[in-house]
Symmetry: C2
Subunit: 336 residues, 2 copies
Amino acid sequence: MVIDSSFFINLALKEAWKYQGLTYPNPAVGCTIVSPKNELLSVEAHKKSGLPHAEVMALRTAYFKLTNDSKILELTSSSEIHTFLLNNHNNCFRDISLYTTLEPCSHIGKTPSCASLISALGIKKVFVGFNDINEEASGGTEILKKSGVDVQSSILEKKAYDLIAPFNKWKEDKFVFFKWAQRLNGSTDAGTISSIESRINVHKMRNVCDLLVIGGNTVREDRPTLDARLVHGKAPDVLIISRKKEFDKSIALFGVEGREVFIEDNFSLLNNYKNIMIEGSSNMFELTKDIVDYYLCYLAPTIGGKSGFEKVEEKFEILNIDQEDQDIIMWMKREK
Amino acid sequence: MVIDSSFFINLALKEAWKYQGLTYPNPAVGCTIVSPKNELLSVEAHKKSGLPHAEVMALRTAYFKLTNDSKILELTSSSEIHTFLLNNHNNCFRDISLYTTLEPCSHIGKTPSCASLISALGIKKVFVGFNDINEEASGGTEILKKSGVDVQSSILEKKAYDLIAPFNKWKEDKFVFFKWAQRLNGSTDAGTISSIESRINVHKMRNVCDLLVIGGNTVREDRPTLDARLVHGKAPDVLIISRKKEFDKSIALFGVEGREVFIEDNFSLLNNYKNIMIEGSSNMFELTKDIVDYYLCYLAPTIGGKSGFEKVEEKFEILNIDQEDQDIIMWMKREK
């Protein structure tokens, strides 16, 4: 195994993918910090909107490793950590290297930008996966270079782009992903397929989605609730794709507070939303091929059940695989 | 992400799993070397019988990182590296930590034992995943402790055991694994399923297997060769499980030099072999449930084809997942 800048960016990428989708409307970003001699100080990710950026989290962990000053571990908000680091760094970061999957932001909001923080801490080497193309936050590399930081860009750029693509879609238009759960033999029927960890993960996704799309037959047959109760989260609006408009409105799905449910025979409503999850099987898969950006598959290591994807012919590119407890979580896109 | 002894053992485990099966008759072992301040110096694995042990490979890479003396990179044989390190280490390893998935061997063969080498190099901290239960090579911990090395055992012990289990089976009796290739929708039919990288990997496996078991119908329908031509390797003996003894002997399978082909209606022949791969689908899966130790699945990220595992009900525990180019490679065992 070669331990080089790609290795360290890859650690950051793997960590960031664990929170893909969950960071909406922010990008999924990972950050690794390493000492002059490849001493691995931290690998962290941005986990959720409102929580610190990946670089800030990685600097927080690295500061503790370098100084043994546990005061910083009590701080959780981005502005507290920023202020603390600026006041207490004592040049401890001077010789470290920082690897980030996305160009550090130049955006000054509730906290100073990550690029300014990195410069102010006297960090001299930054490795970047993909350069930010979002106007509001880009320009971080320029800020760094002006302060004399040696910035190397485009490390594992393609992989870093795949990680950030949903964010770019949110910014430009909307991000649509198709989620399904299946067993190893491809079956999607008959009872619970996924582990409780996977189901919690799906509820976290629903909590940050603004629209959930589902087929009419699934609603009629499975009578699902489609909320985020496992994480006490917000239930997204639901679009039921169905020609027939009649449904048993006593199903829990229709009774969730603060949610709108639409019944339509087309997908034009998607244009009113930004972060959209489609749940389904063969039919919905075929119907939505041209509007789906990414595919998210929860694969249970079991064999059983009968029907799954039928009459579908498809080739995917795997973007990331992860294993949470039992199931494999795969992010993919169609190979074009 | 927590960067601790489990993290470093896990890096070694992941690296070792890439060579699972291929190290026969030796164990699959991985080794990580880290400086006093978590400086990651090397992650290496034992790759093949006749090549150096994981610890020797990791010490070789770490030596180069620590000294910048590239002479060691020209050495490939275990005895050359042993001798070079003993003559040139100059106490450069004194403060490092060595993480190994298996207790370092005490076995003196063509080279001194890894345990003796580690002691002689003045290494003071060794972390071990699983203690060797093989009489010939065990006792490494004792050798280390007698030399004043601080040995911590049982780091991620269960995972380290899963890695070493095939080796223990080879030693005690025989190791039997069931290999199949499938698409994401569970289909195993119609044309080439796996990527070229996966097929090369299978040929490497065949090259070190001494027996390959296959069903009569597969031989009649697919007319496979079942050799290791993609790696210019040795073709294993073949056991065809079939009640009917008639086969078209002009199939390439029967004409491979140095191979024996048996046609039997039972599995008793397996007792004459040590490293056995079964290839098949539903029927063979059901027939061999009680004799298979591990399952190896090459999962292609495609949807297509029709039939796969039918009428099978099974639950696996995933031991390792890896991605080679396109396909996912999964080692599993039945959950009992």
